[in-house]
Structures are given as structure tokens and as C-alpha cells.
Symmetry: C2
Subunit: 274 residues, 2 copies
């Protein structure tokens, strides 16, 4: 893994073994695509990070400093994924979120993987995961560091042909993929599940809800999903991925996915050409 | 904070900023009380850690190595809390729990705080937390690193007179305290909630269920809790803590709590004398 890392602004690649981010997952992260040093969705990532800090009781992030540090780590990487992690830092042992010695700030950059062109053109294979997401309104929507559910769900398959897994809540309603949001076209209506009980409020999901204002945010059962005319996944890192197969069911990229891909390119990202 | 730390057996106090324990809370921990170098509940802690590794798909822990490293860090600390953390280590970016470069192993020792004698004699004040624990059977019982619920719940109060907070699930059934299990005496029957939907399978809880075999494991509503004759909390670090006040309600240490404290001392721990 080639990564450039800054920890609290210093070119270090380690954090204290007693950091609360490690001890309790007590923190937040963002993964941000940057093309030639520019991150088209930067402002939305900062807005979500700021909201997450408020939800966890962390001080608001210094977006200017994060921007400067991101510029340092992406320098020379034409297509980069920037990962920003903020934790409550070190403090006394125990859960109490008392005065810490200060937030730990990690800014890292990785070269973006070369995702296959046919993923965007023809779509990807996805599966339904067995793990059901827990309902926790206090953490829903937030991109926090408690991600064991996603790790366990992603561990359900190792077949490299299957790119993503769909996750449902305890009531068997669709929520998201393991690392992407999901949009579903049924009877010419575009739907995406709410993220107020579980799931993450994806940055690209938010941008597309504004760009495609006829989209309905509502719960969907697994049965409804199986009647979908089209399904696509959205991630601010990977963009818009149509689904060409869901378990045994064959689908094809539809008009909604193509419209979402056009918006992705309009934001300033490459790829996803139909 | 005075701590002695070994990371993968080396006298270091830091881990990679890209460790999955930090990125996703992808790991486990144990906090173990050691008196003059001896941890009376060691075997139970190792059994839970081994079970947790199985649940998360980590390789089983090397209990002999952990024992030797624990002995190194507690040397010279007459009353110590040993914290063992295992993570899936570093690996490729993304949730997939693929081959990592190896588990990260952190063994740290802290001097045990001097808890007030009256906590054990007269009891502690506790409150009911507003945060409701999410139901996740796949993680229930496991002492994993996803502890944001506990951090948020512990952040609900700052009054130092209140020592613990009781947590309920989404159906308003009692689960535990933020960092302890809970036992409730109602009509001369001793009850403790199950930990198969949420909560942690406490080591002292397990030992007491064997020592006090008439204890019933069953769900309890908040209404039942409010009719309790006695309540006590159990932690393998802090021991058996009777509750003397629950929000506005006054209680006193009863026979069940005294019996549990006697078992605590019989395990080889000091304190908790009635």
C-alpha cells in the first residue's frame, strides 16, 4: 500500500496506541476523490465532517487546515483518494468523553485504483448480505469509525466478481451497500432509502438528491427491490456504478443511472462514460 | 496517564495510522485486574477473547504470549489494570477483511484507581441513560472496539457524584451499565439481562452466574427495574458495586450484592468488604 500520511500536520505514519479512535472507534472519517489536486465535492465532505463533529461532541474541524494538508499529501498524485480521520485523541481510560489532549488528525492520500471501465458501462455484480444493520438513530448518517458491521458484511463473500453487497436493516428494509449508497428505479420512479435509522449520508447521494430532485427518499422492502427496473450504487470515491446482476437476477444500466453518471462527470470527475 | 505499553511485544507506544483498529474499530479488547502480578479471572478473559476472535474471523490469540507480555507490563504495579487490544492490523484500504500483514497486539498496564471504600460499602449513584443500544446479534456479547454508543451514553452526564449510567435497548429493556453488567433483585429473585442482542458478556457476570446458579437470565423492562429491591453492577475491573440511588430512587445494598462481593473476594480480589 502506497500512502502519504500526515498526523497532526507532521509527516508521521503512527498514532498513540492509547488513542480513543483505536480504543473505541471514537471519531470520524471522510474519503475524498481528488483529481489533479482538486476535490469537486470538498465542500460537501467538510459539511458532513462538521455535522459529524457536532453529533459526537468533537470541536468543529478546521477546514482550511485540512485543505492545506490534503494539498500536501495529494501533490503529484493525479487521481487520488484522500482519507481524513479525526478522533477524540488520547485521554483518561474509560468511556467518558472528557477533555482530551486534543483531536488526532490524520490526512492520508492513496492513488485511486483503476476501476474497470465496464463497471461503469455495463454495471457490476452485487449480492444481498445476510448481516442486518442495527438501528441506531444517534449514529445514523454519520461517517464514524464504528464499522464492524461493514467489515463483517464485506467478509461474507470472497468471489472477486462480486463487487458489492446490499445491506438491509432489522426490518428487512434496504439501507445501502457496504461502502456505497443505493438508488433504485421502480416503475420509472427513482428511490433511495433514508439514512436516519442506520446507514451513512453519502456525499454523492446528497449531491444527486439535489441534482435529481424527483428522487423519492423512502423505505423499500427486499421484495420491492427484487421488482426494480434498475439499481445503481453511488460513492464519492467510485462514482456511479450501475448494477448488472443482483444475486441471480440480471439487470441493466437504465436512464436514471446514466443521468446520475452525467452529473458525476459534470461535478468534474472523469470516467463513468456510458 | 501513566501506562506501560507493548505493541507486538516491543516497548513502543504507537501503532500505524492505517491500522484497521483505528479505521474501523476492527478488533477486540479486554481489561483485566491483576493483583501483585496475578489476574484471578485470566482464564475467563482469554476464553472471551478467543470467542471474540472467532466471531470476528481473527486468528485465535496466543494466550501464553499475552500472559508473558502482561507479566512484563504489570511488573512493579501491585494493583494493575491490564488492557489487551487485538486488531486485524494493516491491510488494503476498504472493509474487506482480507489477509492483513498480521494482527496488531497491544498490551498495556495502568495502576488501578483507588475507588472509594464507600462505593462498595454503601453503594453508588447511577442514572438511566437516554441513549438506547442498537440490536445487533452478530456483535452482541463481544468486547469489540466499536464503542461509540458507550461514549455517547457516558457523555450524557458530568456530575461526578453519578458513577454509572444504565442502558436500555430499543424496546426499553434493561441491558447493562456503560462499563459494567447489572444484576437486579426483585421479590428475592436475582436477575440479569441476556447479552445476545446487545451488551457485553462480562467476565465477572459469567463467573457470578456460575457461583450463584439460582440467578435468572431474562429481559427486564424499565418498569420492573423501578420495582427492584436491590441493584448491583459488576465489572471484572471494579468488582461488585451496589446501587444506593437510581435517579431519584433510594436503594440499599442487599443480600444478593453481599453474596456477590463475597465471591469477588473469594476469587482473590481485595476490597468490596461489606
Amino acid at each position: 500500500m502506497t500512502a502519504r500520511v500526515l498526523v497532526n500536520g507532521l509527516a508521521e505514519d503512527h498514532v498513540s496506541a492509547l488513542d480513543r479512535g483505536l480504543a473505541y472507534g471514537d471519531g470520524l472519517f471522510e474519503t475524498i476523490r481528488a483529481i489533479n489536486g482538486t476535490a469537486p465535492l470538498w465542500a460537501r465532505h467538510m459539511a458532513r465532517l462538521c455535522d459529524g463533529c457536532g453529533r459526537l461532541g468533537l470541536p468543529p474541524p478546521d477546514a482550511g487546515m485540512l485543505s492545506r494538508e490534503s494539498a500536501r499529501v495529494v501533490d503529484g498524485i493525479p487521481d487520488a483518494v484522500v482519507k481524513i480521520t479525526l478522533t477524540r485523541g488520547c485521554g483518561e481510560r474509560g468511556y467518558a468523553p472528557t477533555e482530551s489532549i486534543g483531536v488526532t488528525r490524520i490526512v492520508a492520500a492513496f492513488p485511486a485504483p483503476l476501476w474497470p471501465a465496464d463497471w461503469y458501462r455495463d454495471g457490476i455484480r452485487v449480492r444481498c448480505c445476510a448481516l442486518r444493520l442495527a438501528a441506531q438513530p444517534r449514529l445514523a448518517g454519520v461517517k464514524h469509525l464504528n464499522r464492524l458491521e461493514q467489515v463483517l458484511a464485506r467478509g461474507e463473500w470472497s468471489n472477486a466478481d462480486v463487487v458489492e453487497g446490499l445491506l438491509f436493516d432489522q426490518a428487512a428494509n434496504l439501507v445501502s451497500a457496504t461502502a456505497a449508497n443505493v438508488f433504485v428505479g421502480i416503475d420509472d420512479v427513482l428511490l433511495t432509502p433514508p439514512v436516519d435509522i442506520c446507514g451513512v449520508a453519502g456525499v454523492l447521494r446528497g449531491a444527486l438528491l439535489e441534482a435529481l430532485p424527483d428522487t423519492h427518499v423512502r423505505t423499500m422492502t427486499k421484495e420491492e427491490l427484487m421488482r426494480a427496473d434498475e439499481i445503481f450504487l453511488t460513492s464519492s470515491v467510485r462514482g456511479v456504478l450501475p448494477v448488472r446482476a443482483l444475486d441471480g437476477r440480471v439487470l441493466r444500466a437504465g436512464g436514471h443511472a446514466r443521468a446520475a453518471q452525467a452529473h458525476w462527470r459534470a461535478f468534474g470527475f472523469p470516467g463513468g462514460e456510458s
